[in-house]
């Protein structure tokens, strides 16, 4: 991914010592960095800390930024490194916290409307599945989790991920596959629940008929 022309100007101004132009970059990327940190760590206050740390590091390290990769790749790399460090430091603390968080709390309004179909039972079911999903993602090894989060939730391409993690695209693909397999294995009950239910209802229907 090449450096955008617009960003080139902004970064040059930042390197001259103009803090105001850094706020433009901050506005542009804060949501993505925050959501990546949140998905990596699974706790809002921690994600807040990590995001602050990331931008401070970026601001301090901007004079060293050569422009070989895009700013966004560079920022994501910092985010990943920061969240690794945070996870390593606060391993015991996070184990207690992550289970208490309600994962479907910030679901988009449109999506809520789409999935709930105005029935409270279905929203509850959705919430439960999301909870199981986030738990099984938390259980993944960090490398697999990183790739999964970046590909599925951040919508990055394989090429970008391999640039951010400094690995080959083949490695990224295999990690993604293994991560999916692991999540599927730990969620197999939930995934088959719908099918079983359908079968059950079909049987019932047959019986009734």
């Amino acid at each position: 991914m090449a450096l955008l022309d617009d960003e080139k100007k902004i970064i040059k101004e930042c390197q001259r010592g103009n803090a105001e132009s850094f706020y433009i970059l901050l506005d542009r990327y804060k949501e993505r960095v925050y959501s990546l940190a949140y998905q990596m760590i699974g706790d809002h206050t921690s994600a807040d800390d990590v995001t602050q740390e990331v931008f401070i590091r970026a601001y301090k390290g901007l004079p060293k930024f050569m422009g070989k990769c895009s700013f966004f790749t560079w920022l994501y790399r910092i985010t990943i490194n920061c969240s690794y460090r945070y996870l390593r430091k606060n391993m015991t603390f996070l184990k207690k916290v992550t289970n208490e968080i309600d994962p479907a709390m910030y679901l988009d309004e449109r999506l809520k409307h789409k999935f709930s179909v105005n029935s409270p039972y279905k929203t509850l079911e959705m919430k439960e599945t999301m909870e199981v999903l986030s738990q099984s993602i938390d259980k993944l090894p960090v490398k697999h989790k990183t790739v999964l989060v970046m590909f599925e939730f951040q919508g990055l391409s394989i090429q970008d991920i391999s640039e951010i993690l400094k690995t080959s695209p083949g490695t990224v693909k295999s990690r993604l596959h293994h991560a999916r397999l692991k999540v599927r294995n730990s969620m197999i009950d939930v995934l088959n629940y719908d099918k079983n239910k359908k079968r059950f209802s079909k049987k019932n229907a047959v019986n009734y008929n």
């Binding site: 901050l26 479907a104 959705m126 599945t129 999903l133 986030s134 999916r180």
Partner: protein
């Protein structure tokens, strides 16, 4: 292709990253193999769940606090503390050199002030010694043939203290000895 290879391809198949020929192979396999088909269906369902989870967005109020916090921290980064500024200034060579010279000057002044009496005393004694020396030399000069006498050979080797307070070793000219050496240094 066996099932384990197909299972890897399923992941690619879902993401639409396979070329046409492999896609056809996987399609054919999925029709036959029940196990792989169930895996494929589960993967698809999982992908749907991932898409739902990708919509999770933190509230906007989070970002308000975030931005103000980051701004504050950046501003505090820009304000360099007095201690840092002092040591940063010291790292430039011209300032460092002048600082060294200033320290040396201050040290010499303090030594002079503190040991003023002792230094004065030393200078006075040195002056007296010099005076004595000069008078002695003047008295000895009248005795012109003094060095030619072997009895007086070592007489004036060690002279009394000069200004530096130590004994100086002086060259002696030897005239009467047959050896060709003109000077002997002790």
């Amino acid at each position: 292709m066996n099932c384990s290879k197909i299972s890897y391809c399923i992941s690619e198949y879902i993401d639409n990253r396979l070329d046409v020929s492999t896609k056809r192979i996987v399609d054919n396999h999925l029709k036959k193999c029940k196990k792989c088909r169930s895996l494929y269906e589960e993967m698809l369902e999982l992908r749907g769940l991932f898409m739902v989870k990708a919509y999770e967005r933190p509230k906007a109020e989070y970002f308000e606090n975030l931005k103000s916090n980051i701004k504050r921290r950046i501003l505090s980064c820009n304000v360099v503390s007095l201690k840092d500024r002092f040591f940063n200034a010291l790292s430039t060579p011209s300032i460092a050199l002048s600082a060294c010279l200033a320290v040396a000057l201050i040290a010499s002044i303090t030594v002079n002030v503190m040991f003023y009496d002792k230094i004065q005393q030393n200078i006075q004694t040195a002056g007296e010694n010099l005076k004595n020396n000069i008078t002695q030399l003047a008295s000895e000069k009248s005795d012109s043939n003094i060095y030619s006498n072997p009895q007086n050979f070592n007489r004036n080797l060690l002279r009394p203290a000069n200004i530096s307070g130590s004994y100086m070793i002086t060259p002696i000219t030897v005239r009467d000895v047959q050896a060709k050496r003109a000077k002997i240094y002790y």
